[in-house]
Symmetry: C2
Subunit: 204 residues, 2 copies
């Protein structure tokens, strides 16, 4: 019983640290984030944090694998599976994940895109982990497009991987633009172009 | 004569510092760049640098206005003007600016996109200057699309601003993806989708 409780406490502590670290990194970037500020949010001791994460870098790696990857699945791959027509699902998720978000949140940028821009060049392990999330995202969208081909919503001749790369790229590009312009109206231009592309790959 | 020479020397010194700062920031990001490393490249004294730039931040602002903005014009707006059909020009510039770049250079990301992701949230003046470059880029592409409408290469009903936002977004998204995946093949998926969009906005 005692061991179970200790394990549960460790898991809860880890979750609290990761949530606080995610918010801090999303708002300020990895370099500008400090372990002390993250600790203040959690009201834990430095010892409790370094017991689970040997360094700030290790904490950053864990944010990618344990916060960003599940977030990508929850915001993209899991909702898409619920749509009969995956192309409709993709347009819907873009509207939901960007169009319905408050501008103040969008101004912070896509947390995955931010870390790619900041860390992919400077730290090999960060790059490896960020790339895994992007690869899983593209592969997941590709699987959805293939499902659409089987159900007759997408032409059989379409390269599903190509469509998936286009969707993920436009999403990350949209976040870059919105962050720079502080105006999410740019999203509607992108949806218009995506509708044109999707009309071209749907059966006549 | 002496005043002229001094002015010329100051301009040359400024150019050397800005070029070195641009390379350093492109390779390592703004936070991770150091004034000392930049100085080593230029073989100038700290005094010579701080005579022209009051702080590292001021140097960063100058890189945006005096290196990134002219680079955007030279790589995008000026070449586009040479194409009779601006849509062909846009596809050509995407191929030239991404497809023909060495992978090692692409791995560093788009210098403008990098700075947006790293600095737009944390520093208001950085954001203002980065936004000016993005706005000028979008407005320049929009003017080209409008020229295409006048010359009969683009349907009159097309929203030129919408097309311009789409083009710039896809470009910045492409750089994000290539930086994450370290593989520029993703560009071909994007060009395919862009060709579909452009076929839809060209006259029948």
């Amino acid at each position: 019983m005692k061991v179970k409780k200790r394990t549960r406490n460790l898991a809860e502590t880890r979750r609290r640290i990761l949530d606080a670290a995610f918010k801090e990194i999303h708002a300020h970037g990895f370099h500008a984030s400090s372990v002390d500020t993250i600790l203040e949010q959690t009201r834990l001791t430095k010892g409790a944090l370094f017991h689970q994460f040997a360094s700030k870098l290790e904490l950053g790696y864990a944010v990618v694998a344990e916060v960003l990857a599940p977030m990508m699945r929850a915001r993209w791959l899991e909702p898409l599976a619920a749509f009969e027509n995956p192309l409709e699902g993709i347009l819907h998720q873009l509207r939901a994940n960007i169009g319905d978000e408050p501008q103040a949140m969008l101004n912070l940028g896509c947390p995955l895109n931010n870390l790619i821009q900041e860390m992919a060049t400077t730290d090999r392990e960060f790059r490896r982990r960020l790339r895994l999330v992007i690869e899983e995202w593209i592969a997941g969208v590709e699987a959805e497009v293939k499902r659409g081909q089987r159900s007759g919503h997408v032409r059989p001749s379409v390269d599903a991987r190509e469509v998936a790369e286009y969707v993920v790229t436009l999403h990350e590009g949209a976040f870059s633009m919105i962050k720079a312009l502080r105006d999410k109206r740019v999203l509607w231009s992108l949806l218009t172009s995506m509708e044109t592309v999707f009309a071209g790959i749907a059966p006549p």
